[in-house]
């Protein structure tokens, strides 16, 4: 029996979909059988980030309404054998799925898969309630901005009220330089307010924009810093102990050479 994990944030644009795509992919790279479910009906994105948009025939709404078998709606990833996507519907209304249907869907999926990773829409209304309905665990994504942290706090309260009592936090798009100069909230500032367990920190990096636009998750790139951060997060979700990554900016080749000569 697998685990159902919802990735949520409240605020839009903090990286829910990017996190879902990368963490889901990284879990699959660990050899787990994964399905990612896009519950953002009407604004589907997860398929685009994964580069699977052109393979969609049936979607989540078709699957829960019985227009197709669940298996038919699952899209197999083009790179990994054990990674699947259940895409959201694009032309249907958000209210076309009920929380009961979502719970039933999740319980079916977790029989098949080791992890069911649910990409939640922004907001706290119907779509959010659907997304968390069948989830046992939650990952809350925030960025070091006051508004995002405020919304994360609200979401954690709502998750607790819904019985998901120990959500874990991912702080996305950290910029170490700005934290150092005091222009950006640091990890400690955020944890001070939210008081939840930290699952990981992801540095802000241009590589994300490139990988998102290409439809290729950044976890495939061994040299990508956010890619490493997401792979670490996947390992922690899988139950491994992995230390937090060092956020120090990578030094240039030249300065490393200089440091080497100095130490000799």
């Amino acid at each position: 029996m697998g685990k159902v994990i919802v990735v949520t944030s409240g605020k839009g644009g903090v990286g829910k979909t990017t996190t879902t795509a990368n963490v889901g992919t990284a879990l699959a790279m660990l050899g787990k059988k994964i399905v990612m479910v896009d519950t953002d009906i009407g604004l589907r994105n997860l398929d685009v980030v994964l580069g699977l948009e052109n393979r969609i025939v049936y979607d989540l709404v078709d699957a829960v309404r019985g227009n197709c078998r669940l298996k038919q709606a699952l899209i197999k990833d083009k790179r990994l054998e054990n990674l699947y996507l259940l895409p959201a519907a694009q032309t249907k209304d958000k209210t076309s799925v009920t929380t009961d249907q979502m719970m039933e869907l999740c319980s079916k999926l977790k029989e098949e898969f080791d992890f069911v990773v649910i990409d939640c829409p922004a907001g706290i209304e119907h779509g959010f309630k659907n997304a968390i309905a069948g989830a046992e665990e939650a990952v809350v994504v925030t960025t070091p901005e006051v508004s995002a942290v405020r919304d994360a706090d609200r979401i954690i309260g709502l998750l607790e009220a819904a019985g998901i009592t120990e959500p874990r936090l991912i702080i996305n798009r950290i910029r170490t330089n700005m934290v150092k100069t005091g222009d950006m909230m640091g990890v400690d500032d955020i944890l001070d307010i939210l008081a939840v367990d930290l699952l990981g920190i992801v540095p802000d990096d241009d590589a994300i924009v490139i990988s998102t636009n290409k439809g290729e998750p950044t976890v495939f790139d061994d040299n990508s810093r956010p890619g490493l951060a997401f792979r670490n997060i996947a390992r922690r979700l899988n139950g491994d102990e992995v230390p937090l990554m060092n956020l120090e900016e990578k030094r240039s080749f030249f300065s490393r050479m200089k440091a080497m000569f100095k130490s000799e």
């Binding site: 405020r150 919304d151 706090d153 609200r154 954690i156 309260g157 709502l158 607790e160 001070d192 307010i193 008081a195």
Partner: protein, 123 residues
């Protein structure tokens, strides 16, 4: 400075909330309210009597909401978004960022203005 507690308020019923209050959560009670945790930005407490926060107060609180000017607000870390006592409304001065560690403070009405000072146990 010795703070004084009104006997009338002390005899009112009191609720004890044993968790932090997060954004969007609120407590409305016509007696006193004690929070064993933080009150985060976006959270709201409206109480007829005193409010006591055994943690960081960063949200909005209204003590003496039924008009009782003897009501007070006490917090281990005092940094509310907005502070109301009876019909008085105050907020921290603009540009005043939360400065971190400091002793517990409490707020009350004195000479028709809200005064915030370091907390001293009543004698």
């Amino acid at each position: 400075m010795v703070n004084k507690w009104s006997a009338a308020l002390a005899n009112k019923p009191t609720v004890l909330y044993e968790k932090s209050l997060r954004s969007g959560q609120n407590i409305n009670f016509d007696g006193n309210v004690v929070i064993l945790g933080d009150v985060n930005p976006g959270a709201e407490i409206v109480a007829g009597g005193h409010i006591l926060v055994m943690g960081s107060l960063r949200g909005l609180v209204h003590a003496g909401a039924l008009g009782d000017e003897d009501a007070t607000v006490t917090a281990l870390h005092f940094a509310p978004t907005q502070l109301r006592i009876a019909s008085h409304i105050t907020r921290p001065p603009d540009g005043n960022v939360d400065e971190g560690a400091k002793p517990p403070e409490y707020a009350r009405i004195q000479n028709d203005t809200v005064v915030i000072e370091e907390y001293q146990p009543p004698r």
